[in-house]
Symmetry: C2
Subunit: 688 residues, 2 copies
Amino acid sequence: MRNLERLLRPRSVAVIGASSDAARTSGRPIAYLQKHGYAGNIYPVNPRNDTIAGLSCYPDVASLPEAPDVGMVLLSAERAIQAVRDLAQRGAGAAIVLASGFTETGPEGASRQQQLQEAAGDMPLLGPNTIGLVNLTDGITLSATGALEMDDLHTGSIAVVSQSGGILGSLLSRAASRGIGFSTLVSTGNEADLDVSDLIETLLDDPATSVIALYIEGLRKPEAFRAAALRAARLGKPLVAFKVGRSESGARSAVSHTGALAGADSMYDALFAQTGVIRAQTFADLLDIPAALSTRRRLNGNRIAILTSTGGAGTLVADSCGMMGLDTPAPDAQTAARLDALSSAEAVLSRNPIDLTLAGVKPEVLRGTLDALLDSPTYDGAVVIAGSSSLQHPDLISGVVSDCMQRTEKPVLVYVSPHAPSILSGLNRQGIPAFAAPESCAAVFAAMLATGKAGQGAPAPAPIVALPTLPSGPLNEAESKTLFAHYGVTPVREAVAATPEQAAQLAAGLGDKVVIKALSRQLAHKSEVGGVAVGVAQADVARCSQAMLAAVAAATSAPLEGLLVQEMVAGGTEVILGFHRDPQLGPAILLGMGGVAAELIQDTALRLLPLSRADAESMARELKTWPLLDGYRGRPRCDVPALVDAILAFAGMAQALDGKLAEAEINPLFVLPEGQGVKAADGVVILR
Amino acid sequence: MRNLERLLRPRSVAVIGASSDAARTSGRPIAYLQKHGYAGNIYPVNPRNDTIAGLSCYPDVASLPEAPDVGMVLLSAERAIQAVRDLAQRGAGAAIVLASGFTETGPEGASRQQQLQEAAGDMPLLGPNTIGLVNLTDGITLSATGALEMDDLHTGSIAVVSQSGGILGSLLSRAASRGIGFSTLVSTGNEADLDVSDLIETLLDDPATSVIALYIEGLRKPEAFRAAALRAARLGKPLVAFKVGRSESGARSAVSHTGALAGADSMYDALFAQTGVIRAQTFADLLDIPAALSTRRRLNGNRIAILTSTGGAGTLVADSCGMMGLDTPAPDAQTAARLDALSSAEAVLSRNPIDLTLAGVKPEVLRGTLDALLDSPTYDGAVVIAGSSSLQHPDLISGVVSDCMQRTEKPVLVYVSPHAPSILSGLNRQGIPAFAAPESCAAVFAAMLATGKAGQGAPAPAPIVALPTLPSGPLNEAESKTLFAHYGVTPVREAVAATPEQAAQLAAGLGDKVVIKALSRQLAHKSEVGGVAVGVAQADVARCSQAMLAAVAAATSAPLEGLLVQEMVAGGTEVILGFHRDPQLGPAILLGMGGVAAELIQDTALRLLPLSRADAESMARELKTWPLLDGYRGRPRCDVPALVDAILAFAGMAQALDGKLAEAEINPLFVLPEGQGVKAADGVVILR
């Protein structure tokens, strides 16, 4: 882990290429440092000026009075390289390069970025193509973002790490208007050196930060991200990520079936699920969820009380909560009695939303009711609705909610129904999460419920299995299943025969009826050339085998390696178990429900290697058709523990074989009724 | 259709129970009428005042100088009844009753509402429990909503009909801050008389209204709503509905399988799909979509150009568009060449989003680029991103977009990335739809694409079929299928046998293997008592029938009516066709894909009776597993035209039998390969 202390909290900043014109991008950083009260030393570097903004200006890095903690480089892409080299040689703590014109522009820019990186050497480098870093906790603005023109920036415990500078500016500006504060915001730009993961690791050590919002276009170091995210989960500092590229999922094409099912975006879902990262579904969520989590309150159940003085808005919030799987039960008898004692004639208190009508405008009624709801064991959290009457009484709700929150650990949100920006920002500034969209309340509660539930169970280490030397290229079906069996996935009973006669002999021990398959590592789609026969009676095995050999020979030139005779599997549910290597995120395991209907709705679950037992269990339960495994409508329950073992065994194989494995898939894997295990009926392996 | 001219555009308003204290709810309506410049006569009615707000006050309705066009009743529930009676007797044009305390409070309130309704007689009545009506076009505010405290209400061509007064106020207040204007807003409250449909019909005739936003909790007159919505579609005045109660779907329990699948909320989806009503998915959509549609521009294809000066925000919008099924293709060669001619060195113009970087701040570059994109046959619409630089140049984008829009019919939206309320409202006021959420741009384009595509094809009239007198209660399977056949749904070949021996004789003509079933109108689940045998060889029919009779007799006391012998159906895809009667919305037809996996994901489509051919066709294509009917992965394509005929025939039966039909379901209906038709293999009918 890199020590970025000097970058985040520099005692001195050199601004290379500073301009004396504060209206220009190169004039802004010093203007902003001064505006927001930076207390350290500022060294403008520009050979054409003696002073800038009242500060002594230096002709070059060499002539600076000390090695600066941070060098902000405002020069063009070409000239930035030398400046970074100078800073590294001078012993600067870090460099920030704002210029664009690097990898994002093509091969020439990529080679320029390579030079920049070499120039930095061991010195941490932020950017290039970054808008910089804003440490609001300590009043250190190392950025040119126009959002710093604002005066009313609030400090808070939300950190932001964004791969886009524009998004950083947008969040800063939107949060300011909402009364939401930040600790530190960093734009990582092209990530020539420091990437999202480095910044997360650093910010997890920042005592001023309790939650980190991430804007991600793609991860350059997925393993480092995973480690950082798991550490965040352990520390109870949640990560909330908005990841773009969602709608390109499905556009990828891949050779194997598994590959086609696993779009890159679903890989991110897998990564986030495994590491407890909360995925923001809308851009608004990226501010709303951290704002609520920064109160450090969590939801311990899904039951929400809604307190309103206006019917429609309460219904809106209740409906949105229901859409996110939250429940809004009516008050229990004891709570209802307590509410009745407070009630006016008009109020309708026995339902949820609890509608106080205009009586809710009286502070004592509002306070008593909210206290009763928060005391009730029926509710895990509450939403208070600020209706149009709150426009006339702007402090009523904030006063009451603030008092009530001191008496409970349960989260309380406020939904503001009319357009009332000052009420929203006032509430947020007082630490009461307040929202203008009913969907935000629901998304926030769902996040508060999910937080802290990940990272359970250590991933299994790669198993050590003694294997014969493995070849390169495709294995045949029998070899594939032998390999799976080495790692603990039980295959169907089967045997390889060289001739139809031997097939008949070997079939004898495999039941009344058997399956016969043409065996060839060259034959990817054997059923299409007549290479599969199902339900063959013992008496017909030889004849059927003979016919199959003839049919396959006629249809393809792939050399046959024999006949595979298998037991028929009766009962159970068919699933697919596949290995997938994402170009960005690396190796993963896919579990899919079998059958064409399940395939059409892409009923699959993905997890990145390595898997924990909890990961494997959650994969099965994540399937939309999970009830097919769980005894739906009188069907026998399937042996889910055996399926979980098989997922872990398959994953262990993929881990152990590491770079050796190109493709692997079991399709179908029969999950038999409870206590009877699983059986791999067909499979493919391609080795490198 | 009611004539509500006097209600919407009254030349005189009596305010019954007016208060001289403008701070009280009963003081507000006159204060608001005066504040917003009402030009007609205002008559306060209150026996305790001589004047109110400078106006002569009347002791009662009888002493008014004329019959008022509108009587606003501000009295309590109890006293409102007499006031409404007085208004009706005096010949008032309409009454508006604000008081709550009617059906929403229970049986006592319901009887009070009944009295109110009787008191109104033929006089149109809005409410009770309404916040009233605001006609901004003509400056007539008949409402107590606190939102009328605002000065900056804008007129526009969006009308609002809301079942909640609080939501009306919320929309009015939110729209004002966004620069979005309204024609007329109406809260229908308890709908004792006038309901949502009446107001829609009236507003469709309002030349100032081009689009209607609806907030709906439930429809009291679904047929009137359907007629109004279809008329709206014909007139090209779209309806945009936010309907709550979404999360209670699935909570309903119903006896038949079809009933369990058809939750009430999905019935609304069906209604909206059939009538071309656009469903707002978020509360923000309810303002965003009408705001965009009120420009009267429509999207003729799904290809969007995104023009930005800041990378991150462009990516956000592109990703959101992709999530809604919109495409963001790169520019065609000719357009790319035109863009290149305008380009600066830094800009990246060959992709989409088209990123102008800071060059986009120059008006001539922005204008030339946007013109080129809108001229291009590659794009059906465009989004322009206002980045943080727009804060310094607030009029740049509005000026350029406004000019460019005059040269094209294509829609252009603006996404504002920083918090910039004045830019947002300025753009909207100039007729340029502008949004602060990337998801809003995508939702708006999707709505612009969907608008005008519904109401195709007239619903089929109920067929006239001569039938024998139908009994009450359940039909047996054979009778059910005979009934279906009468209306045109082909059953499997089958025959009813009285004895095992006769079963064997009748089986002879039905193929090598047959299906045998126990026939009884009392036996709902015959397979559970051994009453179904599939794939019975001809030789085994008698023996198997005998065994079945014994097994069923042992398991149940339901009287048997014989044995049903059926052909086996090979090939094809199994679907379910069901009849469902929603307590709110009435009779409907359900199409579901067969198989447990499809059932688990509720792969169904619903339409309300009567159905048009277009409705039936869209039902099949709406299924998630539609490819199973359309030749997925080398499967034979199914006879979809025959399925569509069967849906229409089944729907025709339901229409013709009208109130006589309690339940009806065909499960499974086999859809055979192309040209081979469909076959109903099993079915249930319960008659009233």
